[in-house]
């Protein structure tokens, strides 16, 4: 997996593209005019690990919300704007860090010029966001509802900005069809070197949306495509962040906290594995010390399959074997499983200066 080479743009304190970490975005689903609820959600998102938050800016009153949020937190904010270039300019003046607006949809070249001038002045990048629903008529007629149509639509918007000498650009090309989305990003990745914002749009409920997003975003990142991501779910935006983090961790693109590998249990299992896993997961959720912990039902595959793990247990005949880095270090009654895991994790954490002041796990 070699990451695609891109330009870098600045979104407040976060850099998108190049070798910068893949940033996680989400979008508030409060009414943006409701300042109190919106700030609350922005702060919750930041605490959950979100790097950049987008707000729907749909009328004048939303601008005030940007101003107020900026007083409370430094998390980069994106204004999501459709059609109205004046809201874009006002958002920039209110302190927004990035715009999501399609220059081909805001009227005359003069309008676009005004937005670009304001963006240049404060070095605000613009995300061009093309979805299946916003493909222009002539392109749709030429290419149908295809990945190429998504790509060509984006390129049309790109050319408008480039013709005005503006290149602080991020591009997204989303469809609710995962394979179409993948093809569209492959298409654009070959043609420009702007950083890409990836995701599956209208992915659906937590269950289905998680699976669609994991497949689509996971595929693209594995191919080295994508510089910032948003998981789109018909659910709390906090869930979007949680899924985004899990995708990055799975691909080794974010190393934080305890990774638990655990077997699916089968007829050979004589531990209550699920409750052990749940308890250890719950009690270590606040830890960002990077550790791989294996919790295995039986000795058939247990220690062997968990060779990669820093520590783990494997069940068998009423007992559990505790192993560290693949070596068995002792055998104990199975009732002690959770305690053994937690104390062994604690021991490793204690060895590391940086993490020594965590609250004790037990």
């Amino acid at each position: 997996m070699e990451r695609r080479n891109t330009k870098v743009v600045n979104v407040g304190r976060v850099k998108i593209g190049g070798n910068n970490p893949i940033s996680i975005q989400s979008m508030t689903n409060t009414d943006t005019k409701d300042i109190e609820s919106t700030i609350k959600q922005v702060i919750e998102l930041e605490q959950a690990g979100c790097d950049i938050v987008r707000l729907a800016i749909y009328d004048e009153k939303c601008i005030e919300t940007i101003r107020v949020i900026k007083k409370y937190t430094s998390i980069p904010l994106v204004a999501d704007i459709h059609f109205d270039y004046r809201l874009a300019i006002k958002s920039i003046k209110a302190g927004i860090d990035k715009l999501r607006i399609n220059p081909g949809n805001i009227g005359s070249t003069q309008n676009v010029q005004k937005v670009v001038d304001a963006a240049k002045e404060r070095n605000i990048p613009i995300r061009i966001g093309v979805n299946s629903g916003s493909i222009k008529k002539d392109i749709f007629q030429k290419y149908g509802n295809t990945p190429k149509a998504l790509g060509e639509s984006a390129l049309e918007h790109v050319r408008i900005l480039e013709s005005l000498g503006y290149e602080e650009i991020v591009i997204s090309l989303k469809s609710s069809d995962v394979l179409k989305t993948i093809e569209a990003y492959k298409y654009i990745a070959k043609r420009v070197d702007y950083p890409l914002h990836i995701g599956i749009t209208e992915a659906g409920t937590l269950f289905e949306g998680t699976i669609k997003s994991a497949i689509g975003i996971g595929y693209l990142l594995t191919e080295g495509i994508g510089d910032t991501l948003r998981v789109s779910l018909t659910d709390s935006p906090l869930k979007e962040v949680e899924v985004g983090i899990a995708i990055l961790k799975t691909l080794g693109l974010k190393q934080e906290g305890i990774e638990i590998i655990s077997c699916p249990t089968c007829g050979r299992c004589d531990l209550d594995l699920l409750s052990i896993v749940k308890e250890v997961r719950e009690k270590t959720r606040h830890i960002d010390y990077p550790l791989k912990v294996a919790i295995m039902g039986c000795v058939v595959n247990g220690p062997g399959e968990a060779k990669d793990a820093d520590l783990g247990i494997a069940g068998g005949r009423g007992k559990v074997a505790l192993f560290k880095k693949g070596e068995i270090v002792g055998t104990y009654p199975k009732e002690r499983a959770v305690e053994l895991l937690l104390s062994s994790i604690q021991e490793l954490i204690d060895k590391n200066e940086r993490y020594r002041n965590y609250p004790s796990l037990q």
Copy 2:
């Protein structure tokens, strides 16, 4: 996505490989000796859409369970056996449809010959299942814990079976590391034309395991690799099947039932979208008529983004627009959203003879 060309093997009524549908497998987590619980779970799995069920066969008493289950259902069964070749032969005699056993781990060539003879007689395929934990010492020393080591381990087992003239082979190469798993399957896919059983082992809890499995299995299927799959979760095997089905549906490899595409909601949304989506999902879960239904919070992207959908609604100012195949057909009070969706789905179902006798949706 062109599917890799493979041999075809028969597992009872299911064919694996070639152009046959990607089959979904799971494994019971009851004690196999507990006949009643195991049969109950096998039947639940079959009803949930599982194509092939695996059982841990770890002693003589498990053989009786195979015999009894075979009287109650025709779902193909796989015996999961470690080391003991006699259990493999007894499983075949009891009516098992496939073995999962690694020929390099069952002792002398004579032992392997006996298993192969019994398998040949009833045309029972053998799955060679290599996991990170079961890489042989010499291969591990040569290649480390790498994708190549997984691949070469499998090839060693393959050569044992081929030398005995046996080619009814399925191969799996699982690791809990998604990228390593992907590389291992790519490695073996280039070297043999046996069908591949894909999955991520020890993927973890429902949340993390779903994401890991969706990324790994999704990537491989998108690349045309994989003929049967198992999602491995530390949770109910029924959940494994549910996730497997959702992965196949996402990639257009299984077309059944109502697919709901719905937006993530934002500050522009004035519908209680989540509850509408949940109610429609709940009331249409039993339907296997293939339909794409869009449920969108606002008119900015609504009908446009849902061009692909058979029908849908988009909210706005206390009303919902109902659209069919991208065309708005009417505007109604938003309280009627669920009723409109269900009656429109019903209408389409009623048009189709095959589905006419479904229980009414409302």
